[in-house]
Amino acid sequence: MGGYVLRRVLQSLLILLGISFLTFILLYLIPADPARQIAGRSATAQTVENIREQLGLNLPFYQQYFRYLTGLLQGDLGRSYLQKTEVGELIRSRLPATLLLMAGAIISELAIGLTMGIVAALRRNTATDTSLMVLSFVGVSSPQFVIGILLLYVFSVQLGWFPIGGYGTFRHMVLPSLTLGLLGAGWYSRMMRSSMIDVLRQDFIRTARAKGLKRWQVLFGHAMPNALLPVIAMIGIDIGLFMSGIVVVESVFGWPGIGQLAWQAIQRVDIPIIMGVTLVSAFAIVLGNFLADLIVPLIDPRIKLR
């Protein structure tokens, strides 16, 4: 177990290093000149040159990357060209909003997905089952910006139940959490359905029924815990899915998280922010996968890590 963890940590670090290198090289190749961008349209050639020197943009590529990496190891993500603020501070100040949104999304995807999956499994091959599965298919395949705008239009603009975007109260959280969670809910309902059907066929369920347990006792006491296993392993991987989703969802709902920060930075080619958010997201995905792998054997002792 200890050897496995160590190996995975080293592997993760290597992945992160690789991502930082690839992102840096991609952004380096963009034909925009950051010094000129900072200097603005009225700057003299000398001002531009001064800025280039102060930021080390006149150095060769490998030196620039090395400088960035050195800063990174000290927790310094650099300074935004256009926001004129430490990238670390920008991300830190927006991280709570993103985490809150993710928590809301996990809750809504589990609540919706698991319920749909269980109901579908119990009503297998009926019209209920079919319509639930069609619905889940719609959830999986609809682009989030479409769902987001649709929800916003119906529930905020037309019905006025929720605020039109923004951040602060529980009511602000409902629609963005739903939008972000619907994709996962689709997946979970399908997984839960097949997993539940599998478990319900097992001998121990028949035994439980035979010894006279009530239907709900069998369902929640025996079938659910076993059916949930593969689902829990998924949550860690979800974080990766969310990372791509938050860019869209946060922009649609004006949610002040790192997804919106990334979107604004991409539009304005603010390289240090793009770089910083990419690294933080990569870190979150790597961490999520890592944790998922660690948690599974804790829940199911039959699985061993080697």
Binding site: R41, T44, T47, Q83
Partner: protein, 540 residues
């Protein structure tokens, strides 16, 4: 002619609406909510240089000079009085006494000197440093050889003298741009690079709260020296809201001004709705949208070809494409800019004459070229209209739609972009003076690698005339100077360095509960809105 009359009448109205007697009748108090899509970048007046923070900085800081609200007329701000030497090279400013920074300290001549030294110091990385090039000693400071501008001297606590190395008729305008705002040394030193997040000025509002990515709150400066200003007690800027969401919120009474304007997709619907008729204010803008033609890249080295392009573009149709949010242009200067030539007719739309000109240049069969364009709506659509117009006279233009930074980079290379549609990157004047529309974008100084003169047009004769015009510092020479500039821009058109297409109009929407003269909602200088003079109807 009619337009001038109208503009004149509008200016008159605006002026009467703001006479002190009436302005005093407006009670102070109340608040408003302004929304924006992007977070505010910085509120450091030496750094901030986008249209979103431009007006915010003006509300937080003061400079020696400013403009009458809603107009392009200079007025004294922190300078109670000033005098100009006969040779136009020495400006002596007398400061108002008793003006206080938000931290309570009195503002003195030392602060003026400190602020000018700071903005020109290369370490500040100010995008506006170049505006101060005429101050004596600028070159030494810009090169890092001196810490202090030789030409700026503190005569006494309330008098500052600024010596120039050359006469500069635009100098009072320079003293009115944000970069010349007066900042307190102790606050700048306390916050260092983060001064832009913790601004301390002497303006009508002070910054109360800034939650990154969410909101900024401006609070009324109770000690503001200008009596009765500002009108509102508080302004909340909510950021991170898409324009469409901002519009919906305004319609539901949750917000007062959508700072990014009316979203194009909703423009016709909103402007045609009688319910909003009085809530939408239209105003001119010191802006021109143009097609540059790189005179260093054949066949655009031939004036006939450039003239043909001017005649081929159907400007009325392009204005229709953007739902009439602009007026057609025939010269580089916008109509509200001093020096605009009302009698100039430009190149009329005439594809047949254009074809004839091409034939004259030996290009009767047309040619292939590239048109660079910024890739956000409506610019690609406008480029397609231009492409179709050019095709009609035999010019096959391939559209290169790129990110803004990439188009700007291409324009700054001598041999990369034969044509650029300037939309989304076009020149908007830094200050309302014609010289600002020449040097960087049409003069030889801008025709350098990384410059903004994307036509690479460099006419030394016109450069000399421009220098001469900017040497007319005597206010009595105002008309003469305007005439000189008028001639310069018409000469540019004779060479057809650009094909001017339109001048954008601005449309600001405000909620029912806000009051104030229309002109301040489309203020030509306090862009987008002059926050200091907006008042709340619910406290009257």
């Amino acid at each position: 002619m009619n337009r001038t009359l109208l503009a004149g009448a509008a200016a008159l109205l605006a002026a009467t609406a703001l006479t002190p007697a009436q302005a005093d009748d407006i009670k102070q108090g109340g608040s408003m909510i302004v929304t924006y899509k992007d977070d505010v970048s910085t509120l450091d007046p030496a750094i901030g240089y986008d249209w979103q923070n431009w007006s915010m900085i003006k509300s937080l800081f003061d400079g020696l000079m400013d403009y009458e609200p809603g107009t392009t007329n200079l007025m004294n701000d922190l300078a109670e009085d000033y005098s100009i030497s006969d040779d136009g090279k020495v400006f002596t400013f007398k400061l108002r006494e008793g003006v206080k920074f938000h931290n309570g300290r009195e503002l003195t001549a030392e602060d003026v000197k400190y602020s000018l030294d700071r903005v020109t110091n290369p370490e500040t990385q100010s995008p506006g440093a170049g505006f101060f090039g005429s101050i004596k000693g600028f070159d030494a400071v810009a090169a890092g050889d001196a810490d202090s501008l030789e030409g700026v001297t503190v005569v006494d606590p309330y008098t500052v003298k600024i010596e120039l190395s050359r006469p500069d008729a635009t100098f009072l305008h320079v003293m009115a741009i944000n970069f010349s705002s007066i900042v307190p040394k102790e606050a700048v030193e306390e916050w260092g690079a983060d001064f832009g997040k913790h601004p301390v000025g002497s303006g009508a509002f002070s910054l109360e709260e800034w939650t990154l990515g969410q909101r900024l709150v401006f609070k009324r400066n109770e000690d503001y020296w200008r009596a009765g200003v500002p009108k509102l007690d508080e302004i909340t800027f909510e950021v991170g809201q898409e324009p469409i969401v901002a519009l919906l919120r305004l319609q539901r009474g949750e917000a007062d001004i959508p700072g990014d304007g009316i979203p194009p997709a909703k423009f016709l619907e909103v402007t045609k709705d009688p319910q909003y008729k009085d809530l939408i204010i239209e105003g001119g803008q010191l802006h021109t949208g143009y097609v540059t033609m790189n005179v260093k890249m054949p066949p655009f080295d031939k004036p006939e070809v450039r003239k043909a392009v001017n005649m081929a573009i159907n400007k009325d149709r392009i204005v229709r494409i953007i739902n009439g949010r602009a007026v057609p242009a025939n010269q580089p200067l916008p109509p509200t800019m001093p020096g605009y030539d009302n009698n100039y007719e430009g190149y009329a739309f005439d594809p047949d004459a254009a074809k004839a000109l091409l034939a004259e240049a030996g290009l009767g069969d047309g040619f292939e070229t590239e048109l660079y364009v910024y890739n956000t709506d409506p610019n690609p659509r406008i480029a397609q209209a231009i492409q179709a117009d050019l095709a009609a006279i035999g010019i096959k233009a391939e559209i290169k739609a790129l990110a803004q930074a990439n188009v700007i980079a291409a324009g700054g290379e001598p041999d990369q972009a034969p044509m650029i549609w300037s939309g989304g990157m076009a020149w908007i004047a830094d200050f309302p003076d014609p010289s600002n529309f020449y040097g960087p974008i049409l003069g030889c100084a801008g025709a350098v690698k990384g410059g903004w003169n994307w036509s690479w047009y460099c006419n030394e004769e016109l450069d000399a005339l421009a220098t001469a015009a900017d040497s007319m510092t005597d206010p009595a020479q105002k008309a003469e100077r305007e005439e000189a500039w008028r001639k310069i821009f018409i000469a540019v058109m004779d060479d057809a360095a650009w094909a001017p297409v339109f001048h954008e109009q601005r449309f600001t929407m405000r909620s029912e509960r806000l009051g104030g003269p229309d002109a301040i909602f489309v203020d030509p200088v306090h862009i987008p809105v002059n926050y200091d003079y907006v008042w709340a109807k619910d406290v009257q």
